[in-house]
């Protein structure tokens, strides 16, 4: 019980709401398009990738534009969460050092802000699906638990990276590089069965590898995920959550003093 209320900031929902609204206000202050940017950037990237991978590199995947848009929106959430979530503890040190604040609430609200952006992107995915004449079946609802899992993985990783970042500021540069690698190691632009069979087991090492396969299955190929894929996601999700929780418990006061 204590674990869930603490880790998911259940007692701090007003705080999380206010922090999310702070994040949004700061991010879109003095910007003309404001929240619209969260749609424009992934849309622009998707079109760019589509032109290059489909028309120049001649990748042959059915409904390729839908694959890209369907995966780019969650991927943008994931990479942005890691990027800003990692820095949350360090950049908010005055809050941690001068007033009592559960450190995870900062990261939770940051991930929630990005999740709001993702939710705004869902209509774009649906619209693309409609335009491409892809079938709508019940299997599309797999998308919802997948996003919950993605949120939890991004949240846990941001806590872990955020704590490490307090000690090693080099991590910021590592993360930038890491998300680039990670992008290509994840089936965002391709399908997992395009990976040679003998290397395919490597996908298990990627916490979000089968998650993006699942996204493609729910949005594009209208099929159910395999037990193996679901297990892989669940194991990664629980493992990372556990690590994040233990790390948080161990160093929560220490990081405040070090900051």
């Amino acid at each position: 019980m204590k674990f869930t209320t603490e880790y998911f900031c259940i007692n701090n929902k007003f705080l999380v709401r206010n922090l999310v609204s702070r994040n949004l206000k700061i991010r879109y202050r003095k910007s003309f398009f404001g929240m619209l940017w969260t749609l424009l950037i992934p849309a622009g990237m998707a079109i760019m990738y589509y032109l290059i991978f489909h028309h120049v590199l001649k990748v042959q995947i059915e409904n390729y534009l839908l694959v890209i848009i369907g995966c780019i929106v969650p991927w943008t959430f994931f990479s942005n969460s890691l990027g800003t979530g990692t820095e949350m503890l360090v950049s908010n040190y005055t809050l941690l050092n001068k007033v009592k604040l559960p450190p995870q609430s900062l990261i939770f609200s940051d991930a929630s802000t990005h999740m709001l952006n993702l939710i705004l992107g869902i209509p774009v995915i649906i619209a693309t699906k409609l335009l491409m004449g892809s079938d709508f079946t019940f299997k599309i609802f797999q998308f919802i638990p997948l996003m919950v899992a993605l949120f939890l993985i991004a949240y846990a990783l941001s806590i872990i990276f955020g704590i490490v970042y307090v000690y090693f500021r080099d991590l910021k540069y590592v993360i930038t590089l890491l998300t680039q690698f990670w992008f290509y190691a994840t089936p965002v632009m391709y399908q997992v069965d395009m990976v040679p069979e003998k290397f395919r087991f490597l996908m298990h090492l990627n916490p979000v590898g089968f998650l993006f396969t699942g996204i493609q299955k729910s949005l594009v190929s209208n099929s159910w995920m395999s037990i193996q894929e679901v297990t892989s996601i669940l194991i990664w999700m629980s493992f990372l959550t556990l690590i994040a929780f233990i790390a948080l418990k161990k160093v929560r006061y220490k990081i405040v003093e070090i900051l």
């Binding site: 701090n12 007003f14 705080l15 709401r17 206010n18 702070r22 809050l95 001068k98 007033v99 604040l101």
Partner: protein, 250 residues
């Protein structure tokens, strides 16, 4: 219900300090080659040792001591921001620490938005804040400035906002760390009046200050710190005397 507001039992605090070594590429390379790369060293420093006292409900305690005597560290431990290295601290009742100017504010947001952010950091709901909103705004006397970003505030304006929020949220224990000094005389005396009013309303107040007059005038108890420990705990007149003697000896 316990009759103490804060209870400290043989509390000690030491910090591990990180001393970065002067580095040059040459020295790093030579250390790397010999597998002895050290970026710095950890130095342990004791700030407070074996502090034990109880603060009863409804007391008005002044805390004094030289710069660096550990007053702020103690307040941060009382506020739950730091955890003690030794011993234990128990608090009973809602506590609001007001430790530094502008702490808990988002500089990019305006004063009005920051009232909500700040109060939610202290754990209050939006409904509750709304019910206190008028009092807070009126007391702060910020007028139109309330809708300016907090980063453009003067230190006096920051303390106006911070104090107004903390004083109107009905916490049982309030910690103030030497922040009233920046307000103008008018606001200072208004704050002190408010603090006195809270005190007579049964709230527990803990105030760190370097002003003996303030302590003598308001506090019913004074604790003086020196060299990592309590050197005096008792009547406020005697306490300020002890404090003055700290500096007259040399």
């Amino acid at each position: 219900m316990a009759d103490f507001a804060i209870s400290l039992k043989s509390v000690g605090k030491s910090f591990v300090e990180w001393r970065e070594r002067p580095r040059s590429i040459k020295s790093i390379l030579s250390q790397l080659v010999t597998f002895r790369l050290k970026l710095g060293t950890h130095v342990s420093k004791t700030v407070l040792e074996e502090i034990s006292f109880d603060i009863k409900k409804g007391e008005f305690v002044g805390i004094m001591g030289r710069n660096g005597a550990g007053k702020s560290t103690l307040l941060k431990m009382m506020g739950g921001i730091y955890s003690p290295s030794k011993g234990s601290i128990e608090t009973s009742g809602k506590l609001i620490p007001l430790l530094e100017l502008g702490a808990g504010f988002a500089p990019e947001l305006n004063g009005y938005e920051n009232i909500f952010l700040n109060a939610s950091i202290f754990g209050y709901s939006s409904n509750y804040i709304n019910s206190k909103l008028n009092d807070i705004i009126e007391f702060s006397e910020l007028g139109e400035n309330l809708y300016k970003p907090v980063q453009n505030y003067s230190s006096g304006m920051l303390v106006r906002l911070g104090f107004s929020i903390a004083a109107h949220l009905d916490a049982e224990i309030l910690l103030f760390d030497e922040i009233l000094a920046v307000g103008d005389i008018g606001f200072q005396s208004k704050c002190l009046k408010k603090i006195k009013q809270l005190y007579s309303g049964g709230k527990t107040i803990i105030l760190v200050t370097h002003s003996p007059q303030l302590i003598e005038q308001f506090c019913n108890r004074c604790i003086v710190f020196d060299n990592t420990g309590v050197i005096f705990d008792g009547d406020s007149k005697e306490g300020t005397g002890t404090y003055r003697r700290l500096f007259s000896e040399k």
